[in-house]
Amino acid sequence: MAEKSFETTSQVCCSTGSESLPILASPMESPLRKVLSRISGFVPSWGKKTAPPGRRIFHRDVEQDEFQNGTAHCLSSYYSVFVARLAIMVMLAILIGLLTVLTWHFTRVYTTKSLNTLAYGLRYELLQRPILRMWNILNSTSEITTAQVKLSEYVIRRYSKPTNQAEQIEQLYQMMKDITWALFASRKALNAITINYRNGFVQAFHRDHRSNNTFYIYSDLANYSISDTGSYDNKSQSSRQGWNDQFIHGNVSAIWYRQPLDPLTGEKIGKSSQIPPEDLINIAGPSQVPDGVASWHVAVSKYTDSPLLSAALPVWDASNKSIVAVVGVTTALYSVGQLMKELVEVHSGYIYLTSQEGYLLATSTNTPLLNNTAKGPKLMMAANSEDRVIRMGAQWLQKTYGNKFPPGHVVHVEKANLGGQHYYIDSFFLNLKRLPIVGVIIIPRKYIMGKVEERALKTLVILISASVCILAIGCVCILILTNGVSKEMKLRAELISHLDARRRAEASSNYKSQFLANMSHELRTPMAAVIGLLDILICDDCLTNEQYAMVTQIRKCSTALLRLLNNILDLSKVESGKLVLEEAEFDLGRELEGLVDMFSVQCINHNVETVLDLSDDIPKVVRGDSARVVQVFANLISNSIKFTTSGHIILRGWCENPNVSSDSGKFSPDQKKPMSALKTKLKHGNHMKKVSKKDNKMILWFEVDDTGCGIDPSKWESVFESFEQADPSTTRTHGGTGLGLCIVRTLVNKMGGEIKVVKKNGQGTLMRLFLLLSTPADGLEQQRQIDFAKHSVAVILALHGSMGRLIMSKWLSKNGVPTLEASEWNELTQILRELFHARTTNSGFDTHYSLAKPLRSKVQTLQDMKKLVYIIVVDLGLLDLSTEIWKEQLNFLDKFSGQVKFAWMLNHDTSNAIKMELRKKGHILMVNKPLYKAKMLHILEAVIKESYVEPQNRSPNGTKGTSKQGDSHECLEIDSTQFETCSSDDSDISEMTGANSVSSVGIREQLKEGTILKSGPPTLRNCLVEFTRLGLEVNNLRTEEDQCNGRPKFHDTKDVKCENPNSSEQPLVRSNVKDRDNSYTTNKAASEQKSLEGLRLLLAEDTPVLQRVATIMLEKMGAVVVAVGDGAQAVEALNCELDGDENRTNRLQTEICDSPPYDLILMDCQMPMMDGYEATKAIRKSEERTGWHVPIVALTAHAMSSDKEKCLKVGMDAYLTKPIDYKLMVSTILSLTKRSTKG
């Protein structure tokens, strides 16, 4: 039981140990636990071992050291694995061995024991039987003897009367003979009965078993008389020896007769004959009963070959005082031997009986029991027996025990080696009085245990071989298992370490991003301060020119640094997933036009042409993050500009509509192939299309095509990696960090698009991208197009840039406007002359230029068409501005002014003098380069309108057009101001974080950089300011702006505007311009101070200090500020104003009828009672019923971008951080108020 439980526990241990080595199994033997704990102790060591690679990346200097550690770990771990395996195997071996031994032992021991018990019983039983038989024989012998004695006594007493002695004696003997015969006959087993009378007469019956004869033996009666009895009795005591002698001698002297008898009847069958004394049988005499009691002894006779058991008993006389005769009975022990033989035969064992002295009495074998010596047969010692086994057994017993037999002569020996064989020897002692007998049984061990031992041996062999097999298999299994486990553990450790490393890497990357975000955020603040202070410094009058230049340089550097920081911040924002794209409607075309305007300024110095080519199907208004879209293109274009020294940069855009096949003929010839390629590419982006259909999303394709140095095809992918540049050497020449394209790609991807570099025919790079932008829910309103064909206009494009001209002319002819192209002055004159040669007879220029044939034919077709209105778009660059020739050229063109309309393409640095000159000549249409669709549309519309109104006021137009229409020109000029401002120095692209701020930045920039841009840009603001100051109606102003921006509203207001220019403002504007020329800074200060003139602002701010500061700031700029302490008050103030306003509205239903009470609300975010977010929500809710939208600017000290999102989410329009940056605030307010008045 105990063993079993041990076995199971150990099995459990084994299984748990092997299966779950890494886990510490709970209950187990202490050594096992030790081993397992050791094993499990290795797991972390493996982890340690494999962990280093992760760290190695970071600490390359300690790599060597780590590596050595690693190998040491490795060795020790291998060693320990080996030890563990060995331990497990040894344990298994011990277990199996134990099991085997125990199994064998128990099976064997139990059988052996039970068999032994059985064998013992058997042996005992076997031996008991002959002994019982012996006992029976003895008993019967003694019984007979006793009976004979009793009968003899009786007979003798009858015949002991002294009368007639002789007869009596005769009768007595006869009687005795009869009685004895009767007894003798009744017992067949008896060998002999003898009666030896005191007088020496002997009567005896003898049975010879061998010859089966029965004899009556008697002695001669003559010599004896019964009377002698007395003397005999008397002498008995004194002369025992004499009695004996007498007996023997008497016997010898006496004559013995033997008479054969019939064995059955006892009749005499033969004559009695005298027999020699040596033939005499053993006759018991008085010597054998010396004490007068019965005696036993073993006798031998020559008639039998087995010992005889003879008993002698005296017969007492009547007085019981003297022995009258001795009766002897002899029984053969032959039957005992016979029985023993039978018993033992089946068991192939041996039994023998000996007397106490060691004489053999009976054996189970047929060997003689008697020694035939010269003196007749003698009893034989067992040790001298002729039977080998018996002899050896007796000798063994004698050798082992000698004469010192254990008490009772009981010996049980299970394994006596007799002659090379094992025997059981058992002896019993039959303690008969006078005749003690020892019985010995010898059974070969083989007979009883042979099979068992054989089986046990076989079992042992089988068990051992089986256990060896199991052990071997187990070892192999363990080897495999541990191998597997260790492999698994290694893998797991590796996995864990990999995970760890990955997590660490991610964390570090995250830290990096976070760090970058934080750092750039933290850095931006001082940078902003630096830039702000530099601005202040620039404003300072008392700077020398050098100082001024230096400070300007510092400012440029600072802005560059700030831009870099912003880039990093953008990137880290995107990387850390914090960038959230806005969803707002914006005019994509306008944003891109502005962008092109901006970059064209930069390009002019590079002799690069910037062309915008948007297809007509691009929706005007899309939803998305305008700032990010603009950033994408700004980065791409600036990148292109950086690498393009000559040629052109084209920004193409078209709309991917699955239904309408795009008119690719419109694009450049190398377009078709990539288009189809992209289409196939889009096919496996099918889900995208589905999305686009469902969500009203559109795929807008764009291309930025330049003629720069190009990118090596192998770098097409890698240029979009961060800090990656196609050619590192360009950094020196072009600068840059390599972040731009990375940001572009992340942004494009974020907007659901893709960007890649595509193969381009010819020099340069072609970046193609698509964006997934949704269009407003009200669907794609088709852009209103004027059917130019019916207005019968023709356009002559006299432009420098061939690409822009080509695209423009294509577009125009597609829209039904015939075009002529001229790339230089002479060509233009040629065309003009061809067209109007009849009227222009006196040209002051050479006419030997002949037009090319196709052109000429075109001209002729145009000539054929009657009543055409010609518009000549003239690049100012065609005029020779370096000398004074341009004036003559102008005069030349002036001659045609009756027949054609001139639209002038100005450069950004076109001097005011030229503009004035143009204006003087009545050239009212002036736009800045570059020419794109919207501008062309403007020109056309303006000309068409004018041609309609011309008939009515031709005369005033002719005379005072210069002064009147100057404004409208300026307005036309102005539309591009927002972007022009970023002049040839590094433009602050990334500061444009929204449409609003773009324009605000523009304004801000123009404040600072007005020195470079003397003309144009500030005019808008100036106009604006002046207009407001003069109390011009807001309405008017708005229409004016609309017109400037080329809105469709143009039609409604244009005539009003054009026909009613306020003539009084003209001098003011002029003076302003002059002021600016003289001293920009003072002008700036003045204008800045009043830049918020007329605005009504609501300031919600709880901190009194900040409230005061902001109020003063704003008031200084001319705004009317109402300050409240918390959000609730702000809402209240607005509401009551609204109510009041409604009344007012009723009263004066004039132009301001639906403008909100405040132009703008500045809202602190964190305020008691009601915070900024809540207040904004409340305001926006209340606005629902009026339909206004008061711009709300958040003021917050939380400088995180998430706060910005939160602000914008609740409905705020912009976001300012505390402490308030003076200029940023102004520009924000301006942009918002402007927008609100517009919309």
């Binding site: 301060a529 702000g532 202070l533 202040i536 410094l537 709880d1102 901190t1103 009194p1104 200090v1105 900040l1106 005061r1108 500061v1109 902001a1110 003063i1112 700031m1113 008031e1115 200084k1116 602190d1164 964190q1166 008691p1168 000290a1197 505390k1218 402490p1219 308030i1220 003076y1222």
Partner: protein, 154 residues
Amino acid sequence: MEVGQMQRRLVDYTKTLFMEGFLDAQFLQLQQLQDENNPDFVVEVVSLFFDDSEKLLNNLSMALDQPNVDFKKVDAHVHQLKGSSSSIGAQRVKNACIAFRNFCEEQNIDATLRCLQQVKHEYYLVKNKLETLLRLEQQIVAAGGSIPMIDMGF
């Protein structure tokens, strides 16, 4: 004292204030906002700041004295203090407030108490400095001099 000397002293003193980081550009903006329309603008704002701050500091001490501190409230107070100090350009107070708010988020009472001490310390420092500065300015004005424009080349 002579006016010129006082003016120089004022300039030096202001410079040290900037150098030591007590004040930042915001204060300059503040000074620029002062003109003939608001002749006492700086004094007004600064005294507003003092009142406001003292009130806030009192509130803060009280709030932190409570057995279980309402960190939201504390945070709001500190936020306000931060806002007002940053708008007058008391840079060191502002920085202390930023640290204070961080500990508020962690709800670390010990640290916030420490921070309160620091904020108070900074506040009294800057208060002293500003008072001295304003006194100097007043003296100059009283002596009939003009307040020199502060050199921004710090």
